[in-house]
């Protein structure tokens, strides 16, 4: 991999499930979301770990393990989902040939009705299956469109020539602003910042999630704005499902802090 050597070693750890620094992990996963080259490298590293696994290949399990597996499988047979097959015609025909011609005629009539019903059922099932395939295809296309759009947004924000232009009412100075998007269900959040004051080399802005149960603020990622005061950040919380009543931003030492240092630099805008 040549494009992003800064992630090379973290990727190797990630492929082994050994990357345990939450900040590094979140940063790498964010990057993987937008970088195809690093995703391919991750796939190659997983293949390398598979080679490592081969060094342990050797003994076969005892025979009882085979029997145990096959018994378990027999206990839960998977019936393939197929439309009824016309092969039943041939099977039935051989059975009915031994009857008297009249009976054969009668039974064939009954059989024709049954077959018609069967075909009709098969047609209905096939139609339903086609509709389901169409629905899934449409859903896949929609997901692909959303994915492409999300990637385009992320690429734009990452672009080295990304030009952030804030339009404000004339004769006023642009106000520093931070916007956050938080999903309790996903346990992740995103932040964009504009026109922030520059920070000394050893300082960063850190975001805090304020739990609605009144417990201590939780660190929710840190970032450093660029020379124009703009920045963005994605952060995965340690767990999903945290109810938040708000967010706040403080200035902390580089590397972030576990507890906020006053003063609060940014707080939710008053509503109403």
């Amino acid at each position: 991999m040549n494009g992003h050597p800064q992630y090379a070693e973290a990727l190797a750890l990630y492929a082994l499930g050994a990357l345990d620094n939450p900040r590094e992990l979140a940063e790498l996963e964010t990057h993987l979301g937008t970088c195809g080259e690093c995703r391919r490298e991750l796939e190659a590293l997983r293949a390398d770990t598979a080679l490592l696994a081969l060094s342990a290949v050797g003994p076969k399990p005892p025979d009882r393990a085979r029997q145990r597996l096959l018994s378990a499988i027999a206990a839960e047979p998977r019936v393939p989902k197929k439309a009824p097959q016309p092969y039943t015609v041939g099977r039935l025909r051989s059975r009915w040939f031994s009857f008297a011609p009249v009976a054969v005629m009668l039974m064939l009539a009954v059989f024709s009705i049954l077959l018609g019903f069967q075909v009709s059922t098969a047609n209905r099932e096939a139609k339903a299956a086609r509709a389901e395939v169409e629905r899934m295809r449409a859903e896949l296309a929609r997901n692909n469109r959303e994915l492409a759009q999300n990637k385009a947004i992320a690429d734009l924000m990452h672009a080295p020539d990304a030009w952030h232009v804030d339009l404000v009412a004339q004769h006023t100075r642009p106000q520093p602003q931070i916007k956050t998007i938080y999903s309790k269900q996903q346990g992740s959040l995103m932040l964009t910042a504009t026109s922030l004051a520059p920070l000394p080399e050893n300082k960063v802005y850190e975001l805090w999630l304020l739990p609605s149960d009144g417990s201590a603020p939780m660190p929710a990622g840190w970032f450093k704005p660029d020379n124009n005061g703009n920045g963005w950040m994605y952060h995965a919380m340690q767990s999903a499902g945290i109810n938040a009543k708000g967010f706040a931003v403080t200035i902390e030492n580089a590397g972030g802090s576990q507890t906020p240092t006053p003063p609060i630099m940014f707080a939710p805008a008053p509503t109403g």
Binding site: V57, P62, L70
Partner: protein, 183 residues
């Protein structure tokens, strides 16, 4: 040793066996088991060092493959390496007393190493072992701690007394040495 891009007949066999499994053919599962149980069991036994626990992993991995054969995508890799990694992950779950996943992971693992044929498999295993033997001992140790013991980066650094950066570098360099040997 065949590499990626070469269509080995046995690779097609694997795909055919998976197709038969999808259709509910239990004998296909038996064939796959006979072909790859040594891969799954060997890895699980190496991680767990306990035959009963390793047999449980074998049962889980193959049973879940039976329940969800679509988890393996023949277009994105070969079955043996995929099973080996799944077995390792399952065994680490056992080792760490984590609840096993409900389903098997759909990880794309596209190594070009031919493992379907018994002779090729033995050759590949010998080659991997040879590469590992040639690695510096410290490097091999951290690789094995991460893979077979499921230790994290900081746990390895704590246990070996090596700086985090050194552990990171050794792990990546070790994996790349394996890749290079099979390139």
């Amino acid at each position: 040793m065949r590499v990626s891009g070469t269509q080995a007949p046995d690779h097609k066999d694997d795909a055919a066996l998976i197709d038969r499994m999808r259709a509910g053919d239990q004998s296909a599962m038996a064939d796959l088991y006979d072909r790859y149980s040594g891969v799954v069991y060997g890895v699980a036994l190496r991680v767990l060092a306990n035959t009963t626990a390793a047999e449980d992993v074998v049962q889980e991995v193959f049973l879940q493959l039976w329940r969800n054969p679509g988890a393996f995508d023949a277009g994105r890799g070969r079955l043996a390496p995929w099973l080996a990694v799944i077995a390792r992950n399952r065994a680490i779950d056992h080792l760490r007393k984590r609840a096993p996943e409900e389903d098997i992971d759909e990880l794309p693992i596209s190594t070009g190493v031919d493992m379907e044929d018994e002779a090729a498999r033995k050759l590949a295993v010998e080659k991997v072992r040879g590469v590992l033997t040639q690695l510096p001992q410290d490097q091999r140790k951290v690789l094995e701690m991460a893979f077979f013991e499921g230790m994290t980066h900081s746990e390895i650094a704590g246990k070996t007394g090596e700086p985090l950066g050194t552990v990171k570098t050794r792990i990546r360099t070790g994996l790349l040495a394996l890749r290079k040997a099979f390139a």
